[in-house]
Amino acid sequence: MLDTDPRVSAPLSAREPFAQAYRWMLLARLLEEKLASLYRGGKIHGGVFLGKGQEALSASLGMALRKGDIFAPLIRDQAGRFAFGEDILDAVRTYLGSKLGPMRGREGNVHRGRPREGCYPMISHLGAMISVVCGGLMARRFKGETGVVGATCIGDGGTSTGSFHEALNLAAVEKLPLVLVVANNQFAYSTPNSKQFACNDLVDRAAGYGIDGHKVDATELDACLDVVGRAVERARTGHGPQLIVATLLRLAGHGEHDDASYIEAELKESALGRDCLREAECALLERQWASAAELDAWREEALRQIEEAVATVQREPAPDPNAENWCALSTPHLDDTFGH
């Protein structure tokens, strides 16, 4: 199955999932704006990476997954993380390095997760998470669990890695219920698509792996909910790996240190540069699925949650190097302690 132009057939979403997705998108956008402001104020160690422009895609994936599924989000998946069940405190604690967070100051920013709850924390090496999700799915199969889906995301740049190829091929050979979402946001840091791949469209690669491919315009929440929802459902019902290639424009730098001056104005003004959050907001008003007053109330509620989380975490202790257990093994008696 290959959806060449899903927007033609994408049905309008029902109000409830659309509004719910919008609220996750809004919360993600506003949290990231807060994180960017903390970064500019020197309150965050290391980088801040925004998912601006990718929220519709990410939220749609998080919403299509269920408790018990596996999700390995990548760097621009705050909205999907929320939809999959991430507590806002996990995000803020990891960015601020609180020792009470899931990573306890050992890891920062987007490198967070709760593997026991199905949310695998990414390593920085692009493509690496795909085979890890495959292994998680193999384990579920060994245990006789059915109806489980494993999903992960990657950018256009990550599709050039050997890991991407090895893992997608492995998933295909093992017919795993993997959903791989490629967010083609046109740039891998500063490198444009033209220097990343030479095929017409990344979705064409699906045929090479013998798996289903789907295309989606990620500026449209309707299309994202529809295409991602259908792909996840196909994986869940035994149709093997699903590759989704979404087109969008990154509406921010690679990280907040990057002014993205290499993105031409023409591209920003094109249909690709539309802001999915604003588009969804207009749709809510046009379809009378929400009033202006409701939108304001949702925004206020999101801001309140963010302020509360940040205020809470800012009062929390930083990790103490003297109290740190400097041991990388879970079998401490096997630690080689010479030189400690």
Partner: protein, 320 residues
């Protein structure tokens, strides 16, 4: 009689029989039984649990990490240790960091058929143990005996951390024992393979046998050489090494890997910093030559340390 290779096969059979969380994944490990037959008949005995993998070391190791997160205990067979480099990223950056980052342990065993054999050349002969030992979060085992090949592989599967299991191909068929062991030294504890009072040789894996042969050669010259088999290089049993050097006052470290850095350098550094006063003469190490591993037996036999070159180094140290 049972060979080193059969011991590895038997250990895997026992691990599969004892623990439903164990499975084996690697190239040709299924009905074919593996390139060296280390998984012979296991696919038949344990249906669905010994799986052929595509030639994708990165994805094989990555998948093992995911399965470990979900509670499985995978054994990954890399066909030759040399081919672990395409999987290096998942091993050192992912498996080795998982517990430290997330408090979720990563009980995977990665079997690396290691070291040189005649005619194997640059890409089927490498000794990678020092490379993996460098990284925090990994346990690195280097068994030198049939008994250790069996008992340490079972321990590797039982340990909650990623274990790099360096099994030596040269020992696969050469080395035989009466039977499988019923007890073993704990992992992390070195073994005195031969007692002696004049000089200590610290070594591991196939080099243990070259060093034992060299020690035998020196008996006629009136020297008693003590041979320490490290068994695991990480953790490295520094106490046993220091205690031996305290008895002999002389140290030679022997390894099949390349000379820059690595296990033998680590042994000398530890003894120099913690046991400087125990040494009567400067310590020395002997490694392979600093070139890729050659193909022709004449070249290969000179590239790696042998009983003859170990004996020569021992004589030089003993005459100081």
């Amino acid at each position: 009689m049972i060979t080193y290779l059969e011991a590895i096969r038997e250990a895997q059979a026992k691990a599969l029989a004892d623990d439903p969380r164990v499975y084996i994944y690697g190239q040709d490990v299924g009905s074919f039984g593996g390139a060296f037959k280390a998984t012979k008949n296991l696919a038949k005995e344990f249906p669905g649990r010994v799986l052929d993998a595509p030639i994708s070391e990165d994805a094989m190791v990555g998948s093992a990490i995911g399965a470990a997160i979900e509670g499985m205990r995978p054994i990954i067979e890399i066909q030759y240790a040399d081919f672990s480099t395409p999987g290096f990223n998942q091993i050192v950056n992912h498996a080795a960091t998982l517990f430290w980052r997330t408090e979720v342990s990563c009980p995977i065993t990665i079997r690396l058929p290691s070291g040189g054999t005649a005619g194997s050349g640059p890409f089927h002969s490498q000794s990678m143990e020092g490379l993996y030992a460098h990284y925090p979060g990994l346990v690195v085992m280097t068994p030198a005996t049939v008994e250790d090949a069996y008992s340490m592989l079972l321990e590797a599967v039982a340990i909650d951390d990623p274990v790099i299991f360096c099994e030596h191909k040269y020992l696969y068929y050469h080395l035989k024992a009466e039977g499988l062991p019923t007890e073993a030294l704990p992992v992390g504890k070195a073994r005195i393979a031969r007692q002696g009072r004049d000089i200590t040789v610290v070594t591991y894996s196939a080099m243990v046998h070259e060093c034992l042969a060299a020690a035998e050669d020196l008996v006629a010259e009136g020297y008693e050489v003590e041979v320490v088999d490290l068994r695991s290089i990480k953790p490295l049993d520094t106490d046993t090494v220091l205690a031996s050097v305290a008895r002999t006052g002389r140290l030679l470290a022997v390894g099949e890997a390349w000379p820059w850095g690595g296990v033998t350098a680590e042994i000398l550094a530890r003894v120099a910093s913690e046991g400087f006063g125990l040494l009567d003469v400067p310590p020395r190490r002997l490694n392979a030559k600093n070139t890729p591993v050659p193909y022709h037996p004449n070249l290969w036999g000179t590239h790696r340390p042998t009983a003859q070159t170990v004996a020569r180094a021992l004589r030089e140290l003993l005459r100081l």
